[in-house]
């Protein structure tokens, strides 16, 4: 069984993100980027399924500019067998990404599509669901456990009330939650071996996708800074201070 895993290059989670002075977005130039952590979990899950013999081939796919090749190399070092690079230098919104990924999924005829539940840059949490809708296949989102049995997948999901276990027919889309697994450390020899694995380039044009802009980001602002607190000495002072603010 073939598994397709989408990976996105995002600003590293350790970076203190800064908003551009003109409010048109966040600073990405000269900032460390890495693979979206949820996509790492997706890669790890695919590799584990392959180790269990459930998956025979892992294909990693990304959409974006030339620099995204690094992310694909990371995916290959993780254990993907080959990679597909949908080259696009411009902005890609979730629906466009979903259309492209759906086209790749169809072309590859993969039975399982695993992706992070969201990317930590725009936190859209839409792409996986849209891929499933576009292809009219099952979706199992926020997975915390994935088991493959024959042509079905049993997926435990994290929902507000607790855990929910659902069974979906394959092909299906699985989006990963934080507690699905703990991604392994990349082995240095695997990084060297990843160089020899193939990366196929394709484009929206090849996939028959027209990039569209369903929405427009009008302004990006940093969160308000916390104003300085006031120290009070006694409970009475606290009560009167709270009353003064109309909180009591």
């Amino acid at each position: 069984m073939k598994a397709l895993v989408s990976v996105k290059r995002v600003v590293d989670y350790n970076v203190r993100v800064q908003v551009k002075s003109d409010g048109s977005g966040v600073v990405t130039d000269g900032v460390k980027h890495s693979m979206n952590p949820f996509d790492e979990i997706a890669m790890e899950e695919a590799v584990r399924l392959k180790e269990k013999g459930k998956v025979t081939e892992i294909v990693a796919v990304t959409i974006g500019g030339a620099k995204n090749e690094e992310t694909l190399r990371t995916a290959l070092a993780f254990g993907a067998d080959r990679a597909i690079h949908v080259k696009e230098e411009g902005e890609v919104q979730p629906l466009t990404a979903a259309k492209a990924l759906a086209a790749v999924l169809k072309k590859e005829d993969a039975k399982l599509f695993i992706c992070g539940k969201q990317a930590i840059d725009d936190d859209a949490n839409q792409t996986g669901q849209m891929v499933a809708a576009l292809l009219d296949i099952a979706q199992a989102t926020f997975a915390s456990k994935v088991e493959i049995e024959g042509d079905k997948a049993k997926v435990t999901r994290e929902v507000d009330a607790g855990l929910e276990t659902i069974e979906v027919d394959l092909p299906a889309v699985v989006t990963t939650d934080l507690r699905l697994n703990e991604p392994r450390y990349l082995k240095l020899p695997d990084i060297m071996k990843a160089k020899k694995k193939p990366i196929d380039a394709t484009s929206f044009g090849d996939l028959g996708v027209t990039p569209g802009a369903g929405f427009k980001v009008t302004k990006t602002t940093p969160p308000p800074t916390r104003s300085k607190g006031v120290m009070v000495k006694t409970v009475d002072e606290l009560v009167s201070a709270l009353k003064g603010k109309g909180l009591l």
Binding site: S34, E70, Y185, L186, K187, P189, I191, M192, K193
Partner: protein
């Protein structure tokens, strides 16, 4: 004929007439006159050209022309390649998530956790340098990648980095200088999941130790060598199965020998040190230890020199990683710690000290990478390695000391990692050997 041409034409004719006049020679005026003419004509021509030039204001909507960036393989370009960057990132992640949190406990215990070292071995630190034909993943010399990895690991913790990298020193030595038989006998074990613990034993407990004047003797006795002496500060010697030991031949020339820990005449004595405590340093006593002539690593005199130099680059890389950890710890500290109602970084004595650390670290790092890069390319790198060692010894220790100083009382207590970094950074100036990049 343009105005300018005509003007210069007249000028030249006039110049030639004067310059050609025989009276100048008679009066001894030729030289000064020629000089005057030279200056005169030059200025004349210049003003003639300027007079004819006019700047025309042109409006264009095109992009301004700028020189483009040259390709990145220039003389001073030390940007890591994509592979090197990925290797460094992978090692750094392990350092941040596994080594750093374990460092304080490992330092207190004076031992590295076995699971942690297994995790490090699983990263495949040693496999990188072993050629593919022997089951490894290496295809070309990778001194720069090794240095970056050592640096990244030392960013987590220097002692644990030494413990984790110690076996690679032996596998590297075998890759670089072992003959086919030696490689085939030992290297496959290093590719295995459970690679053997191994260590390089170079340092000796001598006053003003000189790695090129070894006290440990390798006396030729028939078909064997008999090794006698004491090696000092050998990392994780108690757990090691294999050593590469440096000893002086009968003529005083240093050489490297493969010694298995099971050989008779070998005993190990713990030698805890000021720093590198988690690396479990120990002394190796060689008491008339007999090894066959085939245990000698190479007959090439340059190999030993290279071994010392590669080890020095490795130490500079470790020092650079730990010094960077100290700097990255300091900057937020001095910005957040307040005294007299403001962050201590507002005091020049603090700000300048932090800046000095950054400057010295950059110097150390660039020199180290240059040495590694030359080693990788196979050109002479002994000078650069010596410079890197000197900077690692001087500046590394100074950075450690300054970091303790800048943290004030916090620098002295074990609540903060800085005192450990100071103790570890002192090692760079003391120890020879241990690692090979």
């Amino acid at each position: 004929m343009s105005v300018v041409d005509r003007f210069t034409g007249i000028g030249l004719r006039w110049v030639n007439q004067i310059a050609g006049a025989p009276i100048l020679d008679r009066l001894g005026l030729r030289r000064p006159t020629e000089q005057a003419l030279y200056h005169g004509t030059r200025i004349g021509f210049r003003s003639a050209a300027a007079a004819a030039r006019g700047f025309k204001r042109v409006q264009t909507l095109g992009q301004p022309a700028r020189p483009s960036s040259p390709s990145t393989s220039g003389l001073f370009d030390l940007t890591p390649s994509e592979d090197q960057q990925m290797l460094q990132d992978a090692a750094r992640r392990f350092a941040d998530e596994a080594l750093r949190p374990a460092a304080a406990a490992a330092d207190a215990a004076g031992a590295a956790d076995a699971t942690l070292l297994e995790g490090a071995a699983e990263l495949g630190l040693g496999v990188l340098n072993i050629p593919e034909s022997l089951g490894g993943a290496g295809s070309e010399r990778s001194a720069v990648a090794n240095a970056l990895v050592a640096e990244a690991l030392a960013y987590g913790d220097m002692a644990l980095a030494v413990a984790a990298l110690a076996p690679s020193a032996v596998s590297n030595a075998l890759v670089l200088w072992g003959d086919a038989t030696q490689q085939a006998s030992y290297l496959p074990a290093f590719v295995n999941e459970h690679a053997p613990m191994a260590a390089l034993a170079l340092h000796e407990p001598q006053v003003l130790f000189d790695p090129f004047a070894l006290q440990t003797q390798a006396r030729r006795d028939g078909a064997d060598y008999v090794l006698s002496g004491v090696k000092s500060l050998v990392p994780r010697a108690a757990a090691a199965e294999l050593f590469v030991v440096a000893a002086a031949l009968d003529d005083g020339e240093p050489a490297l020998f493969i010694v298995e820990s099971s050989e008779a005449g070998l005993s190990i004595e713990a030698e805890p040190a000021m720093g590198l405590r988690a690396a479990e340093t120990a002394r190796l006593h060689l008491d008339a230890l007999r090894v066959p002539a085939s245990a000698r690593l190479t007959h090439d005199a340059a190999a030993y020199r290279d071994a010392v130099a590669l080890s020095r680059v490795a130490w500079a890389a470790l020092a650079s990683g730990t010094a960077q950890a100290a700097l990255d710890y300091l900057i937020p500290y001095v910005n957040e710690r307040t005294a007299f109602g403001e962050p201590i970084s507002h005091r020049q004595s603090v700000a300048f000290a932090v800046a000095d650390i950054s400057i010295e670290l950059s110097g150390l790092r660039l020199t180290m990478l240059r040495a590694a890069s030359r080693a990788e390319r196979g050109v002479d790198f002994l000078r650069e390695a010596a410079l890197a060692r000197r900077l690692a010894a001087d500046k590394g220790a100074r950075i450690g000391s300054e970091a303790v100083q800048l943290l004030g009382g916090h620098g002295f207590v074990k609540e903060h990692p800085v005192e450990r970094w100071y103790r570890d950074l002192r090692a760079a100036g003391v120890v020879e050997g241990m690692l090979l990049i």
